[in-house]
Amino acid sequence: MEVASTGTLKNKTRFLDSFRRNIILRRVLSNRLAVTGCMLLSVIFLMAIFAPLIATQPPLQMKVTDRLKAPSAEHWFGTDEFGRDVYSRVLYGSRISIAVGFSVVVISSVFGLVLGLYSAYYRHLDNLIMRVVDGLMAFPAVLLAIAIMAALGPKIENVIISISVVYIPTVARTVRSAALVVREQTYIEAIRALGGRSWRIIWRHIAPNCMSPLIIQATFIFAYAVIIEASLSFLGAGTPPPQPSWGNILSDGRTLIKQAWWIMVFPGIAIVMTVLGLNLIGDGLRDLLDPHTNKAKS
Protein backbone atom coordinates (compact mmCIF):
# COMPACT_ATOMS: atom_id res chain seq x y z
CA MET A 1 0.00 0.00 0.00
CA GLU A 2 2.57 2.48 1.17
CA VAL A 3 4.97 1.52 -1.60
CA ALA A 4 2.29 1.98 -4.21
CA SER A 5 1.32 5.42 -3.00
CA THR A 6 4.89 6.73 -2.99
CA GLY A 7 5.16 5.22 -6.46
CA THR A 8 2.26 7.26 -7.81
CA LEU A 9 3.56 10.32 -6.02
CA LYS A 10 6.89 9.85 -7.74
CA ASN A 11 5.13 9.47 -11.09
CA LYS A 12 3.17 12.59 -10.42
CA THR A 13 6.24 14.70 -9.60
CA ARG A 14 8.00 13.25 -12.59
CA PHE A 15 5.09 14.27 -14.76
CA LEU A 16 5.09 17.76 -13.26
CA ASP A 17 8.84 18.00 -13.73
CA SER A 18 8.70 17.10 -17.39
CA PHE A 19 5.77 19.47 -17.82
CA ARG A 20 7.72 22.30 -16.27
CA ARG A 21 10.78 21.46 -18.28
CA ASN A 22 8.67 21.59 -21.42
CA ILE A 23 7.42 25.05 -20.59
CA ILE A 24 10.95 26.27 -19.97
CA LEU A 25 12.14 24.61 -23.18
CA ARG A 26 9.32 26.19 -25.14
CA ARG A 27 10.12 29.60 -23.69
CA VAL A 28 13.80 29.20 -24.52
CA LEU A 29 12.92 28.20 -28.07
CA SER A 30 10.56 31.15 -28.46
CA ASN A 31 13.44 33.48 -27.60
CA ARG A 32 15.01 33.82 -31.03
CA LEU A 33 18.14 35.54 -29.77
CA ALA A 34 18.89 32.81 -27.23
CA VAL A 35 18.46 30.18 -29.94
CA THR A 36 20.90 32.05 -32.17
CA GLY A 37 23.31 32.14 -29.25
CA CYS A 38 23.02 28.39 -28.71
CA MET A 39 23.67 27.76 -32.40
CA LEU A 40 26.76 29.98 -32.47
CA LEU A 41 28.12 28.31 -29.36
CA SER A 42 27.37 24.82 -30.67
CA VAL A 43 29.52 25.53 -33.73
CA ILE A 44 32.43 26.47 -31.47
CA PHE A 45 31.90 23.45 -29.21
CA LEU A 46 31.78 21.11 -32.21
CA MET A 47 34.99 22.72 -33.50
CA ALA A 48 36.66 22.05 -30.16
CA ILE A 49 35.44 18.46 -29.84
CA PHE A 50 36.16 17.35 -33.39
CA ALA A 51 39.30 19.45 -33.96
CA PRO A 52 41.54 16.42 -34.70
CA LEU A 53 39.02 15.09 -37.23
CA ILE A 54 38.24 18.27 -39.14
CA ALA A 55 41.69 19.90 -39.05
CA THR A 56 43.40 19.71 -42.43
CA GLN A 57 46.85 19.34 -40.90
CA PRO A 58 48.46 19.22 -37.43
CA PRO A 59 48.38 22.73 -35.89
CA LEU A 60 52.12 22.78 -35.22
CA GLN A 61 53.25 21.38 -38.59
CA MET A 62 55.53 23.85 -40.34
CA LYS A 63 56.33 23.99 -44.03
CA VAL A 64 58.80 26.60 -45.21
CA THR A 65 57.57 26.57 -48.81
CA ASP A 66 54.04 27.41 -47.64
CA ARG A 67 54.91 30.60 -45.74
CA LEU A 68 52.26 33.37 -45.60
CA LYS A 69 49.96 31.85 -48.24
CA ALA A 70 46.61 33.61 -48.71
CA PRO A 71 43.42 31.61 -48.09
CA SER A 72 42.91 28.98 -50.79
CA ALA A 73 41.26 25.59 -51.34
CA GLU A 74 44.25 23.96 -49.69
CA HIS A 75 44.61 26.36 -46.76
CA TRP A 76 41.13 27.70 -46.04
CA PHE A 77 42.31 30.44 -43.67
CA GLY A 78 45.79 30.80 -45.23
CA THR A 79 49.11 30.07 -43.52
CA ASP A 80 51.34 31.94 -41.08
CA GLU A 81 55.02 32.90 -41.19
CA PHE A 82 56.11 29.33 -40.45
CA GLY A 83 53.77 27.82 -43.04
CA ARG A 84 51.39 26.53 -40.37
CA ASP A 85 47.76 26.18 -41.40
CA VAL A 86 45.70 28.97 -39.75
CA TYR A 87 42.42 27.03 -40.07
CA SER A 88 43.79 24.08 -38.09
CA ARG A 89 45.33 26.42 -35.52
CA VAL A 90 42.03 28.27 -35.02
CA LEU A 91 40.29 24.90 -34.54
CA TYR A 92 42.74 23.83 -31.86
CA GLY A 93 42.62 27.31 -30.33
CA SER A 94 38.93 26.78 -29.59
CA ARG A 95 39.94 23.97 -27.22
CA ILE A 96 42.02 26.37 -25.11
CA SER A 97 39.31 29.04 -24.99
CA ILE A 98 36.59 26.58 -24.03
CA ALA A 99 38.75 24.73 -21.49
CA VAL A 100 39.78 28.01 -19.86
CA GLY A 101 36.26 29.47 -19.93
CA PHE A 102 34.70 26.34 -18.50
CA SER A 103 37.29 25.86 -15.74
CA VAL A 104 37.03 29.51 -14.74
CA VAL A 105 33.24 29.23 -14.53
CA VAL A 106 33.43 26.13 -12.33
CA ILE A 107 36.16 27.40 -9.99
CA SER A 108 34.81 30.93 -9.58
CA SER A 109 31.24 29.64 -9.12
CA VAL A 110 32.20 27.16 -6.39
CA PHE A 111 34.35 29.57 -4.39
CA GLY A 112 32.04 32.52 -5.03
CA LEU A 113 29.01 30.49 -3.97
CA VAL A 114 30.58 29.46 -0.67
CA LEU A 115 31.82 32.97 0.11
CA GLY A 116 28.55 34.61 -0.91
CA LEU A 117 26.35 32.22 1.06
CA TYR A 118 28.38 32.35 4.24
CA SER A 119 28.80 36.11 4.21
CA ALA A 120 25.05 36.52 3.73
CA TYR A 121 24.26 34.09 6.54
CA TYR A 122 26.88 35.03 9.15
CA ARG A 123 26.74 38.78 9.45
CA HIS A 124 30.07 39.08 11.29
CA LEU A 125 31.83 37.33 8.40
CA ASP A 126 30.05 39.60 5.96
CA ASN A 127 31.99 42.74 6.75
CA LEU A 128 35.33 40.99 6.41
CA ILE A 129 34.55 39.05 3.22
CA MET A 130 32.86 41.94 1.49
CA ARG A 131 35.73 44.36 2.21
CA VAL A 132 38.15 41.87 0.63
CA VAL A 133 35.76 41.47 -2.29
CA ASP A 134 35.56 45.27 -2.72
CA GLY A 135 39.34 45.48 -2.65
CA LEU A 136 39.76 42.75 -5.26
CA MET A 137 37.12 44.34 -7.48
CA ALA A 138 39.02 47.62 -7.46
CA PHE A 139 41.60 46.03 -9.78
CA PRO A 140 40.68 46.12 -13.47
CA ALA A 141 40.09 42.47 -14.45
CA VAL A 142 42.74 42.24 -17.16
CA LEU A 143 45.34 43.95 -14.96
CA LEU A 144 44.73 41.68 -11.98
CA ALA A 145 45.04 38.66 -14.26
CA ILE A 146 48.25 40.04 -15.78
CA ALA A 147 49.76 40.64 -12.35
CA ILE A 148 48.98 37.10 -11.22
CA MET A 149 50.36 35.71 -14.49
CA ALA A 150 53.52 37.76 -14.00
CA ALA A 151 53.99 36.18 -10.59
CA LEU A 152 53.10 32.61 -11.52
CA GLY A 153 54.56 32.40 -15.03
CA PRO A 154 52.91 31.74 -18.42
CA LYS A 155 51.19 28.36 -18.16
CA ILE A 156 47.67 27.35 -19.09
CA GLU A 157 46.87 26.27 -15.49
CA ASN A 158 47.97 29.69 -14.28
CA VAL A 159 45.74 31.38 -16.85
CA ILE A 160 42.81 29.49 -15.31
CA ILE A 161 43.85 30.36 -11.76
CA SER A 162 44.38 34.03 -12.48
CA ILE A 163 41.07 34.56 -14.30
CA SER A 164 39.22 32.58 -11.60
CA VAL A 165 40.64 34.82 -8.88
CA VAL A 166 39.37 37.80 -10.86
CA TYR A 167 35.78 36.50 -10.98
CA ILE A 168 35.35 34.89 -7.53
CA PRO A 169 34.45 38.30 -6.01
CA THR A 170 31.89 38.96 -8.76
CA VAL A 171 30.14 35.65 -8.06
CA ALA A 172 30.38 36.14 -4.29
CA ARG A 173 28.64 39.48 -4.56
CA THR A 174 25.87 38.18 -6.81
CA VAL A 175 25.20 35.16 -4.59
CA ARG A 176 25.34 37.27 -1.44
CA SER A 177 22.73 39.75 -2.63
CA ALA A 178 20.41 36.92 -3.67
CA ALA A 179 21.00 35.07 -0.39
CA LEU A 180 20.32 38.18 1.69
CA VAL A 181 16.83 38.33 0.24
CA VAL A 182 16.20 34.61 0.79
CA ARG A 183 17.41 34.54 4.38
CA GLU A 184 14.78 37.09 5.41
CA GLN A 185 11.95 34.91 4.10
CA THR A 186 9.49 33.52 6.62
CA TYR A 187 10.15 29.90 5.73
CA ILE A 188 13.82 30.26 6.66
CA GLU A 189 12.74 31.66 10.01
CA ALA A 190 10.36 28.73 10.39
CA ILE A 191 13.11 26.20 9.70
CA ARG A 192 15.33 27.94 12.20
CA ALA A 193 12.54 27.91 14.76
CA LEU A 194 12.13 24.19 14.17
CA GLY A 195 15.80 23.74 15.04
CA GLY A 196 17.26 23.37 11.53
CA ARG A 197 21.04 23.40 11.55
CA SER A 198 22.81 26.34 9.92
CA TRP A 199 24.69 24.36 7.29
CA ARG A 200 21.46 22.64 6.31
CA ILE A 201 19.61 25.93 6.01
CA ILE A 202 22.44 27.40 3.97
CA TRP A 203 22.93 24.53 1.53
CA ARG A 204 19.51 22.97 1.38
CA HIS A 205 17.26 26.00 1.55
CA ILE A 206 19.16 29.17 0.67
CA ALA A 207 21.62 27.90 -1.97
CA PRO A 208 19.02 26.48 -4.40
CA ASN A 209 17.23 29.81 -4.41
CA CYS A 210 20.40 31.64 -5.44
CA MET A 211 20.94 29.51 -8.52
CA SER A 212 19.20 31.67 -11.15
CA PRO A 213 21.39 34.74 -10.68
CA LEU A 214 24.43 32.47 -10.38
CA ILE A 215 23.69 30.71 -13.67
CA ILE A 216 23.12 34.00 -15.49
CA GLN A 217 26.34 35.40 -14.02
CA ALA A 218 28.26 32.23 -14.96
CA THR A 219 27.28 32.62 -18.63
CA PHE A 220 28.70 36.13 -18.74
CA ILE A 221 31.82 35.07 -16.83
CA PHE A 222 32.42 32.41 -19.48
CA ALA A 223 32.31 35.19 -22.08
CA TYR A 224 34.65 37.49 -20.14
CA ALA A 225 37.04 34.60 -19.48
CA VAL A 226 37.31 33.92 -23.23
CA ILE A 227 38.11 37.60 -23.87
CA ILE A 228 40.64 37.80 -21.03
CA GLU A 229 42.38 34.58 -22.07
CA ALA A 230 42.66 35.99 -25.59
CA SER A 231 43.96 39.30 -24.22
CA LEU A 232 46.56 37.62 -22.01
CA SER A 233 47.77 35.38 -24.82
CA PHE A 234 47.79 38.36 -27.19
CA LEU A 235 50.05 40.22 -24.74
CA GLY A 236 52.31 37.18 -24.39
CA ALA A 237 51.31 36.53 -20.78
CA GLY A 238 48.82 33.73 -21.44
CA THR A 239 48.91 30.45 -23.32
CA PRO A 240 52.59 29.98 -24.24
CA PRO A 241 53.40 29.42 -27.94
CA PRO A 242 53.70 27.28 -30.00
CA GLN A 243 50.46 25.88 -28.59
CA PRO A 244 47.80 27.72 -30.61
CA SER A 245 45.28 29.92 -28.81
CA TRP A 246 43.15 32.60 -30.44
CA GLY A 247 45.03 35.30 -28.57
CA ASN A 248 48.52 34.25 -29.57
CA ILE A 249 47.49 33.70 -33.21
CA LEU A 250 46.16 37.29 -33.15
CA SER A 251 49.46 38.41 -31.74
CA ASP A 252 51.28 36.84 -34.74
CA GLY A 253 48.66 38.49 -36.93
CA ARG A 254 49.39 41.91 -35.51
CA THR A 255 53.04 41.90 -36.52
CA LEU A 256 52.17 40.60 -40.00
CA ILE A 257 49.11 42.76 -40.56
CA LYS A 258 50.55 44.37 -43.69
CA GLN A 259 51.52 41.09 -45.38
CA ALA A 260 48.90 38.64 -44.16
CA TRP A 261 45.52 39.99 -43.02
CA TRP A 262 44.08 36.45 -42.72
CA ILE A 263 46.11 35.57 -39.64
CA MET A 264 44.34 38.20 -37.54
CA VAL A 265 40.89 38.05 -39.13
CA PHE A 266 39.86 34.42 -38.55
CA PRO A 267 40.74 33.90 -34.87
CA GLY A 268 39.00 37.22 -34.15
CA ILE A 269 35.82 35.99 -35.84
CA ALA A 270 36.00 32.84 -33.69
CA ILE A 271 36.28 34.95 -30.50
CA VAL A 272 33.34 37.13 -31.53
CA MET A 273 31.19 34.07 -32.33
CA THR A 274 31.91 32.54 -28.91
CA VAL A 275 31.42 35.70 -26.89
CA LEU A 276 28.35 36.81 -28.86
CA GLY A 277 26.83 33.34 -28.44
CA LEU A 278 27.41 33.42 -24.68
CA ASN A 279 26.07 36.97 -24.32
CA LEU A 280 22.93 36.05 -26.27
CA ILE A 281 22.38 33.02 -24.03
CA GLY A 282 23.04 35.12 -20.91
CA ASP A 283 20.54 37.79 -22.00
CA GLY A 284 18.03 35.06 -22.84
CA LEU A 285 18.46 33.36 -19.46
CA ARG A 286 18.07 36.68 -17.70
CA ASP A 287 14.78 37.36 -19.49
CA LEU A 288 13.67 33.87 -18.56
CA LEU A 289 14.83 33.53 -14.96
CA ASP A 290 14.76 37.06 -13.64
CA PRO A 291 11.18 38.36 -13.33
CA HIS A 292 12.35 41.86 -12.50
CA THR A 293 13.91 42.67 -15.87
CA ASN A 294 11.06 40.81 -17.52
CA LYS A 295 8.64 43.38 -16.24
CA ALA A 296 10.79 46.26 -17.37
CA LYS A 297 11.07 44.83 -20.85
CA SER A 298 7.53 43.75 -21.62
Binding site: G135, F139, R254, M264
Partner: protein, 315 residues
Protein backbone atom coordinates in the same frame (compact mmCIF):
# COMPACT_ATOMS: atom_id res chain seq x y z
CA UNK B 1 25.17 65.87 3.01
CA UNK B 2 28.51 66.38 4.72
CA UNK B 3 27.80 63.19 6.61
CA UNK B 4 27.16 61.32 3.36
CA UNK B 5 30.42 62.56 1.87
CA UNK B 6 32.37 61.74 5.01
CA UNK B 7 30.85 58.28 5.15
CA UNK B 8 31.81 57.61 1.54
CA UNK B 9 35.39 58.70 2.18
CA UNK B 10 35.74 56.66 5.38
CA UNK B 11 34.37 53.64 3.55
CA UNK B 12 37.34 53.89 1.18
CA UNK B 13 39.95 53.22 3.84
CA UNK B 14 39.36 49.47 4.30
CA UNK B 15 39.07 49.04 0.52
CA UNK B 16 42.39 50.80 -0.04
CA UNK B 17 43.98 48.70 2.70
CA UNK B 18 42.82 45.50 0.99
CA UNK B 19 44.04 46.84 -2.36
CA UNK B 20 47.52 47.39 -0.88
CA UNK B 21 47.66 43.94 0.73
CA UNK B 22 46.41 42.14 -2.41
CA UNK B 23 48.84 44.06 -4.62
CA UNK B 24 51.74 43.13 -2.32
CA UNK B 25 50.71 39.51 -1.91
CA UNK B 26 50.26 38.84 -5.65
CA UNK B 27 53.78 39.90 -6.48
CA UNK B 28 55.13 37.80 -3.60
CA UNK B 29 53.35 34.72 -4.97
CA UNK B 30 56.28 34.35 -7.33
CA UNK B 31 57.63 30.86 -6.82
CA UNK B 32 61.34 30.63 -6.08
CA UNK B 33 63.83 33.37 -5.44
CA UNK B 34 62.93 36.74 -7.04
CA UNK B 35 66.59 37.72 -7.02
CA UNK B 36 67.46 34.66 -9.11
CA UNK B 37 64.60 35.48 -11.50
CA UNK B 38 65.79 39.06 -11.91
CA UNK B 39 69.49 38.26 -12.38
CA UNK B 40 69.04 35.16 -14.54
CA UNK B 41 70.71 31.77 -14.33
CA UNK B 42 74.34 32.87 -14.69
CA UNK B 43 74.37 35.11 -11.58
CA UNK B 44 76.97 34.44 -8.89
CA UNK B 45 76.01 33.69 -5.30
CA UNK B 46 77.60 36.96 -4.26
CA UNK B 47 75.45 38.97 -6.64
CA UNK B 48 72.36 37.10 -5.53
CA UNK B 49 73.08 37.74 -1.87
CA UNK B 50 73.73 41.41 -2.59
CA UNK B 51 70.49 41.89 -4.52
CA UNK B 52 68.53 40.01 -1.86
CA UNK B 53 69.97 42.35 0.72
CA UNK B 54 69.18 45.37 -1.45
CA UNK B 55 65.57 44.28 -2.03
CA UNK B 56 65.11 43.36 1.63
CA UNK B 57 64.20 39.79 0.73
CA UNK B 58 65.91 38.39 3.84
CA UNK B 59 63.50 40.19 6.14
CA UNK B 60 60.28 38.58 7.38
CA UNK B 61 57.38 39.14 4.98
CA UNK B 62 55.41 41.46 7.29
CA UNK B 63 58.40 43.73 7.72
CA UNK B 64 58.83 43.80 3.95
CA UNK B 65 55.17 44.77 3.65
CA UNK B 66 55.49 47.43 6.33
CA UNK B 67 58.52 48.96 4.63
CA UNK B 68 56.83 48.92 1.24
CA UNK B 69 53.60 50.44 2.58
CA UNK B 70 55.52 53.13 4.46
CA UNK B 71 57.26 54.00 1.20
CA UNK B 72 54.01 54.01 -0.77
CA UNK B 73 52.37 56.35 1.72
CA UNK B 74 55.30 58.71 1.22
CA UNK B 75 55.07 58.55 -2.56
CA UNK B 76 57.91 56.05 -2.96
CA UNK B 77 56.75 53.10 -5.05
CA UNK B 78 60.15 51.47 -5.29
CA UNK B 79 63.00 51.36 -7.78
CA UNK B 80 63.05 49.81 -11.23
CA UNK B 81 66.34 48.00 -11.75
CA UNK B 82 65.70 47.64 -15.49
CA UNK B 83 64.88 51.26 -16.21
CA UNK B 84 67.21 52.61 -13.54
CA UNK B 85 64.65 55.10 -12.29
CA UNK B 86 62.08 55.26 -9.53
CA UNK B 87 58.78 53.57 -10.22
CA UNK B 88 56.88 56.80 -9.59
CA UNK B 89 58.95 58.57 -12.26
CA UNK B 90 58.31 55.71 -14.70
CA UNK B 91 54.56 55.86 -14.06
CA UNK B 92 54.54 59.65 -14.34
CA UNK B 93 56.33 59.50 -17.71
CA UNK B 94 53.81 56.99 -19.08
CA UNK B 95 50.71 58.61 -17.61
CA UNK B 96 49.91 61.19 -20.31
CA UNK B 97 49.08 58.84 -23.21
CA UNK B 98 46.86 56.64 -21.03
CA UNK B 99 44.91 59.58 -19.62
CA UNK B 100 44.40 61.02 -23.14
CA UNK B 101 43.36 57.66 -24.54
CA UNK B 102 40.89 56.70 -21.80
CA UNK B 103 39.36 60.18 -21.58
CA UNK B 104 38.81 60.39 -25.33
CA UNK B 105 37.38 56.86 -25.38
CA UNK B 106 35.04 57.64 -22.48
CA UNK B 107 33.84 60.87 -24.13
CA UNK B 108 33.20 59.12 -27.46
CA UNK B 109 31.37 56.31 -25.66
CA UNK B 110 29.09 58.64 -23.68
CA UNK B 111 28.36 60.99 -26.58
CA UNK B 112 27.34 58.10 -28.83
CA UNK B 113 25.72 55.80 -26.29
CA UNK B 114 23.38 58.15 -24.41
CA UNK B 115 21.37 59.23 -27.48
CA UNK B 116 21.31 55.65 -28.79
CA UNK B 117 19.98 54.32 -25.49
CA UNK B 118 17.37 57.08 -25.19
CA UNK B 119 16.15 56.65 -28.77
CA UNK B 120 15.97 52.87 -28.31
CA UNK B 121 13.94 53.19 -25.11
CA UNK B 122 11.63 55.80 -26.63
CA UNK B 123 10.94 53.46 -29.54
CA UNK B 124 10.73 50.28 -27.53
CA UNK B 125 9.98 47.16 -29.55
CA UNK B 126 10.32 48.82 -32.97
CA UNK B 127 12.96 48.00 -35.52
CA UNK B 128 14.98 51.04 -34.36
CA UNK B 129 15.17 49.61 -30.84
CA UNK B 130 16.02 46.15 -32.10
CA UNK B 131 18.77 47.28 -34.46
CA UNK B 132 20.34 49.59 -31.85
CA UNK B 133 20.32 46.84 -29.26
CA UNK B 134 21.77 44.33 -31.71
CA UNK B 135 24.56 46.82 -32.34
CA UNK B 136 25.10 47.21 -28.60
CA UNK B 137 25.20 43.45 -28.15
CA UNK B 138 27.82 43.20 -30.89
CA UNK B 139 29.69 46.02 -29.16
CA UNK B 140 30.03 44.08 -25.92
CA UNK B 141 30.98 40.91 -27.78
CA UNK B 142 33.89 42.15 -29.87
CA UNK B 143 37.19 42.51 -27.98
CA UNK B 144 38.43 46.08 -28.34
CA UNK B 145 41.89 44.99 -29.43
CA UNK B 146 40.46 43.04 -32.37
CA UNK B 147 38.43 46.08 -33.42
CA UNK B 148 41.69 48.00 -33.23
CA UNK B 149 43.46 45.48 -35.47
CA UNK B 150 40.64 45.72 -38.01
CA UNK B 151 40.83 49.52 -37.94
CA UNK B 152 44.56 49.33 -38.65
CA UNK B 153 43.92 46.94 -41.53
CA UNK B 154 41.21 49.17 -43.01
CA UNK B 155 42.28 52.76 -42.32
CA UNK B 156 46.06 52.42 -42.21
CA UNK B 157 47.02 49.48 -44.42
CA UNK B 158 44.26 49.58 -47.07
CA UNK B 159 43.16 53.22 -47.22
CA UNK B 160 46.30 54.82 -45.81
CA UNK B 161 44.29 57.57 -44.08
CA UNK B 162 45.71 57.27 -40.59
CA UNK B 163 49.01 56.21 -39.05
CA UNK B 164 48.99 52.49 -38.10
CA UNK B 165 50.55 52.96 -34.68
CA UNK B 166 52.43 55.35 -32.45
CA UNK B 167 51.66 58.37 -30.35
CA UNK B 168 52.08 62.14 -30.54
CA UNK B 169 51.72 64.18 -27.34
CA UNK B 170 49.29 67.08 -27.25
CA UNK B 171 52.22 69.50 -27.26
CA UNK B 172 52.88 68.53 -30.89
CA UNK B 173 49.53 69.94 -31.95
CA UNK B 174 45.95 68.87 -31.39
CA UNK B 175 45.41 67.55 -34.93
CA UNK B 176 48.52 65.41 -34.75
CA UNK B 177 47.53 64.19 -31.31
CA UNK B 178 44.06 63.17 -32.46
CA UNK B 179 45.30 61.62 -35.71
CA UNK B 180 47.21 59.04 -33.71
CA UNK B 181 44.64 58.68 -30.97
CA UNK B 182 41.36 58.43 -32.86
CA UNK B 183 41.57 54.75 -33.90
CA UNK B 184 42.62 53.44 -30.47
CA UNK B 185 40.07 55.66 -28.70
CA UNK B 186 37.17 54.56 -30.91
CA UNK B 187 38.06 50.87 -30.66
CA UNK B 188 38.36 51.20 -26.89
CA UNK B 189 35.19 53.27 -26.59
CA UNK B 190 32.95 50.83 -28.45
CA UNK B 191 32.57 48.29 -25.65
CA UNK B 192 32.15 51.06 -23.10
CA UNK B 193 29.54 52.75 -25.27
CA UNK B 194 27.66 49.51 -25.78
CA UNK B 195 27.49 48.92 -22.02
CA UNK B 196 26.28 52.48 -21.40
CA UNK B 197 23.68 52.28 -24.19
CA UNK B 198 22.24 49.07 -22.75
CA UNK B 199 22.08 50.53 -19.27
CA UNK B 200 20.55 53.79 -20.52
CA UNK B 201 17.81 51.91 -22.32
CA UNK B 202 16.88 49.56 -19.49
CA UNK B 203 17.13 52.23 -16.81
CA UNK B 204 14.94 54.61 -18.84
CA UNK B 205 12.41 51.87 -19.55
CA UNK B 206 12.14 51.17 -15.85
CA UNK B 207 11.45 54.82 -15.09
CA UNK B 208 8.96 55.10 -17.96
CA UNK B 209 6.90 52.41 -16.21
CA UNK B 210 6.43 54.59 -13.13
CA UNK B 211 3.11 56.11 -12.22
CA UNK B 212 4.27 59.70 -12.35
CA UNK B 213 5.16 59.22 -16.01
CA UNK B 214 1.62 58.04 -16.65
CA UNK B 215 0.41 61.18 -14.88
CA UNK B 216 2.63 63.29 -17.11
CA UNK B 217 1.24 61.52 -20.17
CA UNK B 218 -2.31 61.97 -18.91
CA UNK B 219 -1.92 65.70 -18.51
CA UNK B 220 -0.86 65.84 -22.13
CA UNK B 221 2.87 66.52 -21.98
CA UNK B 222 4.78 65.79 -25.14
CA UNK B 223 6.89 62.64 -25.33
CA UNK B 224 10.00 64.78 -25.65
CA UNK B 225 9.35 66.69 -22.43
CA UNK B 226 8.44 63.49 -20.58
CA UNK B 227 11.64 61.74 -21.56
CA UNK B 228 14.10 64.57 -21.23
CA UNK B 229 12.61 66.52 -18.35
CA UNK B 230 11.01 63.85 -16.20
CA UNK B 231 12.41 60.45 -17.01
CA UNK B 232 16.05 60.87 -17.93
CA UNK B 233 16.99 62.66 -14.73
CA UNK B 234 15.70 59.77 -12.66
CA UNK B 235 17.25 57.21 -14.96
CA UNK B 236 20.61 58.85 -14.63
CA UNK B 237 21.91 57.31 -11.40
CA UNK B 238 22.20 53.73 -12.72
CA UNK B 239 23.75 55.11 -15.92
CA UNK B 240 26.33 57.04 -13.92
CA UNK B 241 27.04 53.98 -11.79
CA UNK B 242 27.67 51.87 -14.86
CA UNK B 243 30.00 54.54 -16.26
CA UNK B 244 32.01 54.37 -13.04
CA UNK B 245 32.05 50.60 -12.73
CA UNK B 246 32.97 50.02 -16.36
CA UNK B 247 35.88 52.36 -15.97
CA UNK B 248 37.76 49.23 -14.94
CA UNK B 249 36.84 47.67 -18.29
CA UNK B 250 38.18 50.80 -19.96
CA UNK B 251 41.53 50.73 -18.12
CA UNK B 252 41.88 46.99 -18.74
CA UNK B 253 41.06 47.48 -22.42
CA UNK B 254 43.57 50.33 -22.59
CA UNK B 255 46.38 47.97 -21.58
CA UNK B 256 45.77 45.77 -24.61
CA UNK B 257 44.87 48.65 -26.95
CA UNK B 258 48.13 50.42 -26.10
CA UNK B 259 50.03 47.31 -27.13
CA UNK B 260 48.09 47.06 -30.41
CA UNK B 261 48.78 50.69 -31.33
CA UNK B 262 52.21 50.92 -29.71
CA UNK B 263 51.20 53.78 -27.41
CA UNK B 264 53.76 54.43 -24.64
CA UNK B 265 51.22 54.49 -21.78
CA UNK B 266 50.78 52.73 -18.45
CA UNK B 267 49.48 49.59 -20.16
CA UNK B 268 52.56 49.33 -22.35
CA UNK B 269 54.70 49.94 -19.26
CA UNK B 270 52.99 47.10 -17.40
CA UNK B 271 53.22 44.66 -20.31
CA UNK B 272 56.90 45.43 -20.89
CA UNK B 273 57.56 45.03 -17.17
CA UNK B 274 55.79 41.67 -17.14
CA UNK B 275 58.01 40.50 -20.00
CA UNK B 276 61.22 41.39 -18.15
CA UNK B 277 59.82 40.54 -14.71
CA UNK B 278 60.30 44.02 -13.33
CA UNK B 279 58.15 43.34 -10.27
CA UNK B 280 58.56 46.75 -8.65
CA UNK B 281 57.00 48.45 -11.67
CA UNK B 282 54.17 45.92 -12.02
CA UNK B 283 53.35 46.31 -8.34
CA UNK B 284 53.44 50.10 -8.43
CA UNK B 285 51.54 50.57 -11.68
CA UNK B 286 48.79 48.14 -10.76
CA UNK B 287 48.41 49.73 -7.33
CA UNK B 288 48.03 53.12 -8.98
CA UNK B 289 45.34 51.95 -11.44
CA UNK B 290 43.34 50.34 -8.62
CA UNK B 291 43.58 53.50 -6.53
CA UNK B 292 42.57 55.59 -9.56
CA UNK B 293 39.55 53.34 -10.08
CA UNK B 294 38.50 53.66 -6.43
CA UNK B 295 38.85 57.45 -6.53
CA UNK B 296 36.91 57.78 -9.80
CA UNK B 297 34.06 55.83 -8.26
CA UNK B 298 34.21 58.08 -5.20
CA UNK B 299 33.83 61.12 -7.45
CA UNK B 300 30.86 59.47 -9.15
CA UNK B 301 29.23 58.65 -5.83
CA UNK B 302 29.64 62.27 -4.83
CA UNK B 303 28.05 63.34 -8.12
CA UNK B 304 24.88 61.54 -7.05
CA UNK B 305 24.47 64.34 -4.55
CA UNK B 306 24.36 66.89 -7.36
CA UNK B 307 21.98 64.93 -9.54
CA UNK B 308 19.60 63.47 -7.01
CA UNK B 309 18.41 65.64 -4.12
CA UNK B 310 17.07 62.51 -2.38
CA UNK B 311 20.65 61.41 -1.70
CA UNK B 312 21.37 64.85 -0.25
CA UNK B 313 18.33 64.86 2.03
CA UNK B 314 18.46 61.30 3.33
CA UNK B 315 20.34 60.95 6.60
Amino acid sequence: MAKYILKRILYLLPVLAVVAVVDFVIIHLTPGDPAAVILGSDATDMDLAKLREQLGLNLPIYIQFGRWLWGVLHGDLGWSIFMDMSVSTAIWEHLGPTVSLTLLAEVIAIVVALPLGVVAAANRGTWIDQSFMTLALLGISIPSFWIGLNFILLFAVQLNWLPAAGYQPLSNGLVNHLKYLIMPAVSLGIMQGALIARMTRSSLLEVLNENYIRTAEAKGLSRFVIIFKHALRNAFIPILTVIGLTFAVLIGGAVVTETVFNIPGIGKLIVTSVMRRDYAVIQGAILMTAVAYVLINLVIDLMYVLIDPRVRLSK
